[in-house]
Amino acid sequence: MAGLLVLPNGGPLTAQEADLERGREVYDRWCASCHGVEGDGLGPAAGYMLPRPRDFTRGLYQIRTTAGGEIPTDDDIMRMIDEGMPGTTMPGWQDQLSRRDREAVKDYIKSFYAPFETMAEPEPLDFGRAPRATAERIEEGRIFYDSIECWQCHGDTGRGYGSSGPELEDDRGYPIRAVDLTKNWKFNGGGSVEEIYRRLRTGMDGTPMPAFSDLVDAGFMTDDQLWNLAHFVRSLAPDDRPRVREVIRADKVEPGQVPRTVGDETWEEVEKFFIPLVAQIIILPRWFDPAVDGVWVQALHDGEEIALRLTWHDRSQSPDPAWMQWQERVLEVMEPVEGDPVEPDPRPDRFAVQFPPVIPDGMERPYFLMGNSERPVYLWQWQSDRDGAEPARARGMLDVETLSGSIEADAQWEAGRWQLVLRRNLEPSDSEGRLHFETGTPIPIAFFAWDGDNAEEGPRGSVSSWFFIYLSEDPPPSTYVAPVVAFLLTGGLGLVVVARAQRRERALGGGTTGDPDPAVHPPPHDDHRDDGADGGGDSGPEDDPRPPP
């Protein structure tokens, strides 16, 4: 990176000025497109992201180790530069920029807010150490979660669907979502229990998340209780971020046992496959702020029917009148306005599962974004304001045509989560444009989701790339026969080799090997030995006389 730094001509710079100049160079190159040349968070790309990039001129930092409302320590700012902020568009720069460049950027960022110069660097709070998580602590944390009303924003189940949701705004009036506590990999300040505890103590300045240090200081709750709360919050998320696998396995169940409802207990035993969903930013109109970021897929079949259970988090059951104001606000702030302007409107939630109309032979398949005019796709479309789901054929996102017939569907929104079961016979009612599911072969599959209360509809939504679904079949008998055959063949061959070697040894050296190995003569193996060994009448090509050992 050293070659990058071009100092302006002119007088020599002091070390500090040179450092600041270096910071400016690096900042202008890598940070300004979002945070703005002036540090006001209004760079050219800012309008394409929510939450918006930080405005450094206000000296307000979400992730700190200092008390609520205080300026951050230098280490706090460095940590954000190094590690980025999960759940936002801010990446980590640790592996990208040199330590010196990052330090210089940190100093330059501080220069946007004058009080950094006059205010003494605050002392970080003493956070102590995390007590071990126990069931009792988590339970106590849950009681506190309820009693201090974290659910007002985060919801009873932590899925971020609290009643305050539609009105939440950040320090600059932009709409902001209460974080879904079950997805700790998206926590802005990190998802470990220590990091959660710190956010509770310090609050997240500039967001609706308040600080709890006052409560601890005033004796309204103890530090230990706050740790319990942190443990409870941590326990809402899985141990690890879900792994993405390319193939969804649909296990086979007994005929007639394919579950029909979302509440069927059979589903609890079925493996979940996480499919990430991201913004549709490929065709016009694009949508840079999708609300659905992933779906868990479970699948079963019984040789006759296939059922999928799809689970995704959604803060509301659209259309929900309470969320109209969210729609208004999110439409107002999300650039770009592409195509016709969009009005807030009561829109349903939608979901679509995409297949090719026929299982492709080679690797070629329809365009993943709902096909094109040459190769259409086959869709199962569901929306929250209608019963059932319908089959459709699409030749691109803007050319979707409903097919006759229907797909069995059962859907339920509960506590910030949709669950949807879609079911169809493996054999289509009408082969026209509809997939015939086959077992034992990977079938391309893709997913689309729309949150109506987030103004999503048509191309404004979340999409996935192609994945595969594999309908398991009873393994063919060869699966079990082949290894046995292999075992017997190899074992037999081994015995033949040993027997021949020993025979030759006896013929040559006459008893040098001592008594013959009983291992080659046990009755059960005799057959094999005889089978292979009688070819051994030949004396073999070995003609070098063996010296006595």
Partner: protein, 259 residues
């Protein structure tokens, strides 16, 4: 220990194992320590390499009569010596078991995605039509570079890049934008010597203008999430962003001007 090291049989085994370790882990992990990029060796290539190594070893051990004899000794001992009886039996059970397992692994129904082979940089067409104008790609130059409008190209390209390309190709042009994880194949990293550094600007312009849908079959156009940017941007803007990519990724000599 010494005896073992001198023994051709054990030497052969050691060479074989060391070769495997080197090919399997040495190739991907050692060059990065020295600052070169590298990647895992595909298993089919490993098998080829190991076959070559095996043949080499056989040639070496059989090249000299005495060595060949010594080489065979431990094998012969295992097959015939009475004091090796126990080891012999163990081998006679373990090897067939291993074969049975390998066979099972080969024939059991597998839940894997079919191989998605694609050419990352397929051959470009001779000409493309953008905005009604037919452009012959060969010899086509970036007007911003050609006309020396470098400042302008960089500024315009920067704005366009961070508004449009950054969500996938990343703030650092490393292919790690915040939506990159949702697309398959992953967005191309633009920095480093391996990607656009190897391509002409006209090729990059073609890729930007026509995107995934404009790929030939061998590029797997059905999977690529690259938009056809001609629907969003003017040719001028696409040239600017092309210029910007090289500049920002430090591939352009102007930016990476070594002292």
């Amino acid at each position: 220990m010494r005896d073992y090291l001198r023994h051709p049989f054990w030497q052969a085994i050691a060479v074989f194992v060391a070769s495997y370790v080197l090919i399997k882990w040495g190739i991907p992990y050692i060059p990065p320590l020295l600052g070169f990029s590298s990647a895992m060796v595909p298993s089919s290539v490993i098998i080829q390499y190991m076959l070559t190594v095996g043949v080499g070893i056989l040639v070496w051990v059989s090249d000299n009569e005495a060595r060949w004899k010594r080489f065979k000794e431990p094998i012969r001992n295992l097959l015939v010596r009475p004091e090796r009886r126990r080891a012999r039996r163990v081998f006679l059970v373990l090897v067939p078991l291993l074969m049975a397992f390998v066979t099972y692994d080969a024939v059991r129904p597998k839940v894997t995605a079919p191989a998605g082979l694609r050419s990352v940089h397929p051959a470009n067409p001779t000409s493309i039509t953008v905005n009604g104008e037919t452009l012959v790609l060969e010899g086509l130059e970036n007007p911003f570079r050609e006309e020396g409008r470098e400042e302008e190209g960089y500024e315009l390209g920067l704005e366009i890049y961070y508004q449009n390309c950054m969500p996938c190709h990343g703030d650092y042009l490393d292919g790690q934008g915040h939506y990159a994880h949702g697309y398959n194949p992953l967005p191309l990293p633009l920095r480093g010597g391996g990607t656009i550094a190897q391509l002409t600007e006209s090729y990059v312009f073609w890729r930007i203008a026509k995107g995934g849908p404009g790929l030939p079959r061998e590029g797997a156009p059905w999977n690529s999430a690259m938009p056809a940017w001609e629907a969003f941007l003017t040719p001028e803007e696409m040239w600017a962003v092309t210029f910007f990519l090289y500049q920002q990724a430090g591939i352009s000599p102007r930016t990476w001007d070594e002292h």
